[in-house]
């Protein structure tokens, strides 16, 4: 467990992507099979283990530690697994147990035998390993490692002659931990034949464009359709297997059983996952309530039914359509959706236009609040993985903009170490400023230095790496959308906020009011179509 526990500790405190890749790469290079395969599965949520419950852990701790001392400790540490890992009375330098042994034993142990098994391991392991074990067993590993990051790390591990990350991502879902075939492949062996059905295919992405970028292009070569504000997904139903993947290849099937049940076909559809409420498409905030869940309640299934709006067809009844031009794939998609004949799956309608100016006008006034712009695709474009330059463009609606006041600043990491680079900002609610969001990009390096100086000269209080500042500086914040959110003090949550301009000139009193933001909420389609 020691190398895995060490990796977890480092990943937990390492925010930078490249540093994470380095840590995972080092682990892959120095860890034998099958340990490293199990570790990958654990990091990416691909381990199916019997779950050890918090109440089981509490009972174990009560057997070993005075209840008062445990309560005082838990109160100070704040995390059950961590408290037990630290407080467990065992030698600090115990013998190690391999990750493989832990995983395979946990997979086969019957529930009544779990307490004795866990206690025995805790007696043997050191504190860091105990923490890793308990997080693994309670399925509480949250280390910010996506499947995509793992694929990039694997590609880097394989080196120049090995498979690229996209190809690994494609094969990944067909493999089962501890992935022996995958590691053979990375070492120069044959590409593994995927055992599982319905694998993920790398998604085709668009480049952002504006009027200027589109001007030299012939509008007659392109088709347009709405860019819906949901989650881009790939719905795969093949050979009896059904999966819903994000565009990064994360399998989100478990959170959307209603959608998976509707995948009653043989093929691969590229589309937008949305939530329908009555006849209307619900705003992104409603869909968000269903994301990142391992299970979903019946009530949620009824109140927030999932829906797929189809953009493209990659496979149909055993045939790979990706090399075909868009016009042919679109025709096949229309036939396919008609055949599926499920109200949960519909077509993203085409948006006819004559020239770029006309499309600009359409883009600025979409018929539905849950549209964030238009997609522009060459009629003759095949479906290519990644983000090829030329065939596809996205032309987003102008962002919403608000003038907010900087309230807090937090120091960054890595290249931004020592700079205050993460800013919490607020707007006026009566005579008070209420925080409405946090942004950490959008500014140049020179602006970062100026912001850092402002924070240092205007600090009014400090909390660890966070400083409260005099509410004097107005930031023009651009964002892609706004949702009602009971979890935020302001009741609002911004999507993708960034600092567009620093308004050194503007007095804080003239920053926007909370009412301005509330009027931007999508509940009222009249005001949500356009922001700022």
């Amino acid at each position: 467990m020691t190398p895995f526990a060490t990796l977890l500790e480092r990943l937990a405190f390492t925010p930078a992507r490249n540093a994470k890749l380095r840590l995972i790469g080092d682990y892959l290079a120095h860890t034998p099979d099958p340990d490293r395969g199990w570790a990958l599965a654990a990091l990416t949520g691909g381990l199916k283990l019997r779950t050890v419950t918090p109440s089981l852990l509490r009972a174990l701790a009560e057997d070993r530690v005075d209840a008062d001392l445990f309560a005082l400790s838990y109160d100070s540490v704040g995390d059950l697994a961590e408290t037990i890992a630290l407080i467990w009375p065992a030698p600090d330098q115990g013998a190690d147990i391999s990750l493989t042994q832990v995983v395979t034993t946990l997979q086969t142990t019957k529930k009544p035998d779990l307490p004795a098994l866990i206690a025995g391991w805790l007696d043997t392991l050191g504190p860091s390993e105990r923490y890793a074990l308990l997080k693994l067993a309670t399925r509480g590993l949250r280390v910010g490692v996506s499947a995509r990051l793992t694929h990039v790390a694997l590609a880097q591990h394989a080196g120049a002659g090995g498979p690229p990350a996209d190809r690994i991502g494609e094969v990944w879902h067909g493999l089962a931990p501890p992935y022996p075939g995958l590691f053979d492949w990375l070492a120069g062996g044959p590409e593994p034949q995927t055992q599982a059905r319905a694998p993920f295919r790398p998604v085709m992405l668009a480049h952002p464009a504006d009027a200027e970028a589109l001007a030299p292009l012939n509008p007659a070569d392109f088709a347009a359709e709405w860019k819906w504000d949901g989650v881009r997904v790939q719905a795969v139903a093949e050979g009896g297997g059904r999966h819903l993947y994000t565009r990064r290849g994360e399998d989100i099937s478990a959170a959307f059983p209603d959608m998976v049940a509707a995948l009653d076909f043989e093929g691969v559809i590229d589309g937008e996952l949305l939530v329908r409420q009555g006849d209307a498409t619900a705003p992104f905030g409603e869909l968000q309530k269903r994301l990142n869940r391992k299970t979903v309640t019946k009530a949620m299934l009824a109140s927030h039914p999932a829906h797929l709006r189809a953009y493209d067809l990659l496979h149909w009844q055993g045939r790979d359509l990706r090399p075909l031009p868009l016009t042919e794939r679109r025709a096949a998609l229309e036939t396919a959706v008609a055949q599926i004949a499920n109200p949960r799956i519909d077509l993203s309608p085409p948006v006819p236009f004559t020239d770029w100016a006309a499309l600009d006008a359409i883009r600025a006034n979409p018929p539905d609040a849950v549209i964030e712009g238009v997609m522009i695709k060459r009629h003759d474009s095949p479906y290519l993985p990644g983000r090829p330059k030329g065939p596809w463009f996205k032309w987003k609606r102008d962002p919403m903009v608000v003038d907010a006041v900087m309230l807090y600043a937090q120091r960054g990491h890595g290249k931004r170490s020592g700079y205050y680079s993460d800013f919490t900002f607020g707007v006026w609610d009566g005579a008070a400023l209420v925080p409405v969001g946090k942004a950490y990009f959008g500014f140049t390096d020179a602006e970062l230095r100026a912001l850092d100086r402002f924070v240092r000269h205007n600090t009014t209080d400090r909390f660890g790496p966070v400083r409260q500042v005099k509410p004097d500086l107005v930031l023009e914040v651009a964002f892609e959308g706004l949702n009602a959110s009971p979890r935020h003090k302001s009741g609002l949550a911004m999507r993708f906020p960034r600092i567009r301009r620093i308004r050194w000139d503007k007095p804080a009193a003239e920053a926007d009011r909370i009412d301005t933001l509330r009027a931007m909420l999508p509940a009222d389609p009249l005001t949500s179509a356009r922001g700022g």
Binding site: R22, D66, S417, R462
Partner: protein
């Protein structure tokens, strides 16, 4: 490091032979009949000897356990401390930090109360203070540690009737790993990120020199860069016979990046623009608190190193047993848990709730 040479005192006034007895003129009622020591707002007070131990405000006579700022303050009428603590106070506050001073050597009589200083293993010069009168022996631990520390004198348990203990890490979750294991984690990080300078937050007195000494023990014999705030105290440790190897100032021309592998700085430096001179640094912090993930996260640390100059839970409890004390008072830290432990072991104990001492100095 054995038998460090001691420095001669600058004067010897203030304590020995002072016979003026002033009964407690302030503070709460004594909690037991004729206590040898009692808590007051200024700190622990000995009515019979008319002196304070580690007072948090200026007093006529102060006995100081060690040089950390929350225990050693400037402005007392007279200070009795180890030679090294007196030196350190002079370095920090200037030579005029007190009107009179006396080096604690052997046993000293103060108004009929006998006091003696014993190594506490916390930082260079740190001491426990034993106070004896009328057949009663009280030991004030000050801050102490029992793990081997190449940068200071080793702790010695002192038998007593009442043991007045610190409790900074007074919870059973605190079991400090061997410092060598933490240095090994740092070494592994240096290998994993050879292109990133490692900035280690460590308090200027004690922790910084201990980190350097531990790195030297582990075979890091290259240059270690130190923040300007550490210079004088590192020089003092070297003068006292502690080998810190090749130390270089972490200074640079304005706007230039400093090419350094290992840099030690007080944690406060990470909030200053001083950090800007390093390209993509790994921020580490050496403290017992780093055992708790939430604490490390609050500090924005990328590499938490659990290295402490305080006793951990096993050492706090073992020391109570070693002193043979029949009663325990807990000065500051997590008093409740240690009092609970004493109750479980049938040792009368009470929290003193002294104010003014920080979890970590500076």
């Amino acid at each position: 490091m054995q038998s460090l040479p001691t420095m001669p005192g600058r004067d010897g006034l203030g304590f020995a032979g002072a016979r003026v007895i002033i009964m407690a003129q302030q503070g709460p009622e004594p909690m037991i009949a004729e206590p040898l020591l009692m808590p007051t707002p200024a700190g622990l007070y000995c009515p019979r000897g008319d002196f304070h131990i580690d007072p948090v405000r200026p007093v006529p006579r102060a006995l100081i356990t060690h040089g950390h700022a929350d225990h050693a303050r400037a402005g007392h009428g007279a200070v009795l401390a180890t030679a090294r603590t007196l030196d350190i106070m002079a370095i920090r506050y200037g030579a005029d930090f007190t009107a009179r001073r006396q080096i604690a050597e052997g046993t000293i009589d103060i108004n009929g109360v006998t006091v003696s200083f014993h190594p506490a293993g916390h930082v260079l010069g740190s001491a426990q203070i034993a106070v004896r009168a009328g057949g009663q022996r009280v030991v004030v631990s000050g801050d102490y540690a029992r793990a081997p520390n190449p940068a200071c004198e080793a702790f010695q348990p002192v038998p007593c009737d009442i043991f007045i203990t610190e409790a900074t890490f007074g919870l059973p979750v605190f079991r400090h790993p061997p410092p060598q294991a933490e240095i090994a984690r740092l070494t592994a990080s240096l290998a994993a990120f050879p292109d990133r300078p490692h900035l280690i937050g460590a308090y200027a007195l004690g922790k910084a020199q201990r980190m350097i000494a531990l790195l030297r023990q582990a075979g890091h014999d290259g240059p270690i860069h130190i923040h300007g705030a550490l210079q004088k105290l590192c020089d003092y440790h070297i003068a006292q016979g502690i080998d810190l190897g090749d130390l270089r100032p972490a200074t640079t021309e304005r706007g230039r990046k400093l090419d350094a592998r290992i840099v030690i700085a007080p944690p406060s430096a990470f909030a200053a623009t001083w950090v800007h001179r390093f390209r993509d640094p790994v921020i580490a912090h050496a403290s017992g608190w780093m055992a708790v993930r939430a604490r490390a996260r609050q500090r924005g640390v990328e590499l938490p190193l659990v290295i402490s100059d305080h006793a951990d839970w096993p050492d706090l409890t073992r020391t109570i047993t070693d002193t043979g004390a029949s009663e325990v008072w807990v000065t500051h830290g997590r008093e409740e848990a240690l009092v609970r432990w004493c109750a479980l072991h049938q040792i009368p104990a009470r929290p003193l709730r002294l104010v003014g001492y920080e979890d970590e100095p500076e």
